[in-house]
């Protein structure tokens, strides 16, 4: 074949492929981008007849904002518990030589990736039931924390291993107690690691549907992921102005967190231990 023709064909093929990829990935997202601002929101994506009225409908819905608050509570509670427990454990495991600690971490990481919320939903549900943690936010937080901790400890231990011990030694020479050293020397040094793990936890919990769906009964406690599902499954016609604005508002924090983490630390979400 003539090389010029071949090169032209190659370019056409490439352009077709790139357009197809763009179309495939953009098509479902168009609805999310346009409909919240459309005066006549429909099920098909179309260029909007611009209005902000739909957001007023969102603000007037009693469950919408309440569910965002619940999502914040679950995400913040889990992140706090995960960061504190993981930081303490990671620091101790990094600095004090415990026999078999690498094997322990390895096994925990393995367990957290095979005992997923999906695979273990029956025993988790029964455990929560027997501990009277059904319909309790604390129950959701505890279950999610148990699943996220191994990866969090692993990440933070890596971080702590990489920081030199000289600051801690210097502080000790000046008579600081171990807990003082931890609070005033170690925490500031590993703060980027703590922030990364915190944001990672928030992102995991924010999007999680299964655990709150399984463990919470009262719609007043349901987070955004579960309320969103009831918006389009309960009742005949989906309430499009509400669903569209709610989706947009609920998605924004995830995008912001992603941009923040990838800008700041050049770290991309390890889809890793998703539950």
């Amino acid at each position: 074949m003539n090389p010029v023709v071949r090169e032209a064909l190659r370019r056409i093929g490439l352009a077709t492929f790139v357009s197809a990829v763009l179309g495939f990935f953009a098509l479902p997202l168009l609805w999310l981008a346009f409909t919240p601002f459309d005066a006549n929101p429909g099920i098909a994506a179309s260029l909007p007849d611009f209005t902000l009225h739909n957001f007023k409908i969102l603000m007037d819905n009693p469950y919408a904002l309440e569910s965002m608050r619940n999502s914040v509570l679950l995400a913040a509670g889990t992140a706090l518990l995960v960061v504190v427990c993981a930081a303490l454990a990671a620091y101790a495991l990094s600095r004090v030589r415990v026999p078999g600690r690498d094997a322990l971490l390895y096994v925990l990481l393995l367990l957290s990736s095979i005992i997923t919320g999906t695979a273990a939903m029956v025993p988790i549900f029964l455990l929560a039931f027997n501990l009277h943690l059904i319909d309790s936010r604390l129950g959701v937080v505890l279950v999610l924390t148990g699943g996220l901790l191994p990866a969090a400890i692993f990440l933070l231990k890596d971080f702590t291993d990489a920081t030199p011990t000289s600051y801690e030694e210097a502080a000790r020479v000046f008579g600081a107690s171990p807990l003082q050293i931890l609070r005033h020397v170690v925490v500031p040094v590993i703060r980027p690691g703590l922030a990364t793990v915190g944001v990672w936890t928030v992102a995991q919990v924010w999007g999680d549907f299964l655990m709150p769906f399984l463990l919470l009964r009262n719609p007043d406690k349901a987070p955004a992921s579960v309320i969103m599902y009831t918006f389009y499954t309960e009742g005949g016609q989906p309430d499009l102005p509400l669903i569209s604005t709610f989706s947009l508002l609920y998605s924004l924090p995830v995008v912001v967190m992603y941009l923040f983490v990838s800008r700041r630390y050049g770290f991309r979400f390890h889809g890793g231990i998703k539950r």
Binding site: A44, Y91, V98, I115, T118, M121, S247
Partner: protein, 321 residues
């Protein structure tokens, strides 16, 4: 727990003995306090992660139900549930659908599309690449409930964007082809990981190899087979296992089809939810849970083995999984 401000002499003494026995204990933590630091995390992991998995073994041997007599006093039924699960027609059907789901969407769909995007974008810069990457990533990071509705809207029978675009009004995609919809959806949702992974892996292929292949007049397929594949083989195997594990445990299809219509998209994760919490057969559901955990374990062990072998072959890259 020791008081926050213990006198320096005491701290030094404790630290001294601890440092002697355990090198690197710079803050003078000592074994006792180290154990206290690790304990909260270990307790939470033990109660809410490890215990449920072990408990499944027992639950699967009972006739536990959500309501009725068997809810308050479950009886021991031995291996009965396990026999029932393995002989259940719905279970076989679900296993077959799960295989289609994992092979179709993750192993073939996400991997091929992710690699193709990474390959085409490898030496591009600028707007097109940024837009493609942003869209693929958005599909990955947006909450499951949101993207599920986006696909319901896209595939809607009466006013869906797809029908409007194809000029096929009234085609009920989710009812006529539920499994295909869920598979295409998951390709859309999960391609980002493969794209990023192969993007990074292709960065490790020396440009001189590609240049040599080009000068030798090799076609794209030949270049991929002879110059690229040998370099990224380790990544391919490990990423295949990883996305298989995630896809197998994905619950998002429930949000789109809820397993229906008529169980035709009832993959394993939806099947276990329906039997245990929908039908209330918790003992039976626990037996399915155990089967799923065992499948996860097999995939994870093969993954670790592949990772170790890769580490042996290319020690420097072993860490960047």
């Amino acid at each position: 727990m020791a008081p926050l401000t213990s006198p320096p002499s005491e701290a030094a003494r404790r630290g001294g003995t601890a440092a002697a026995s355990a090198g690197g204990d710079a803050a003078g933590l000592g074994r006792g306090r180290a154990a206290a630091f690790v304990a909260p995390a270990l307790v939470l992991i033990a109660v809410f992660l490890v215990f449920p998995a072990l408990w499944t073994l027992y639950l699967g041997t009972t006739d536990y139900r959500l309501t009725g007599i068997a809810a308050s006093e479950p009886k021991f039924v031995g291996a009965h549930n396990y026999g029932d699960v393995l002989g259940d027609g719905d279970f076989h059907h679900s296993l077959w659908l799960t295989l289609q789901f994992v092979l179709g969407s993750a192993v073939i769909g996400q991997t091929l599309l992710g690699f193709a995007i990474a390959w085409v974008m490898r030496d591009r810069k600028g707007l097109v690449r940024r837009v493609v990457e942003a869209l693929v990533l958005l599909a990955w990071i947006l909450p499951g409930s949101v993207i599920a509705f986006l696909w319901i809207a896209l595939l809607d029978r009466d006013g869906g964007t797809l029908n409007a675009l194809l000029g096929t009004p009234g085609t009920a995609w989710l009812i006529d082809h539920p499994m295909a919809c869920v598979i295409v959806f998951n390709v859309w949702h999960g391609t980002a990981f493969s794209m990023m992974l192969y993007g990074a892996a292709l960065g490790n292929v020396p440009p001189s190899h590609l240049e040599t292949a080009r000068l030798a007049g090799a076609s794209t397929l030949q270049t991929l087979r002879d110059a690229v594949l040998p370099r990224i083989r380790g990544h391919v195997l490990t990423s295949l296992l990883l996305i298989s594990l995630w896809t197998f445990n994905d619950f998002t299809p429930f949000l789109i089809t809820a397993g229906g219509p008529d169980h035709r998209s009832e993959i394993m994760s939806v099947y276990v939810y329906r039997t245990a919490l929908g039908d209330g057969r918790l003992g039976f559901g626990a037996a399915i849970s155990l089967v799923m955990i065992l499948i996860n374990l097999v995939i994870a062990l093969v993954y670790l083995r592949a990772l170790r072998e890769r580490g042996r072959r290319e020690p420097r890259e072993a860490v960047t999984a």
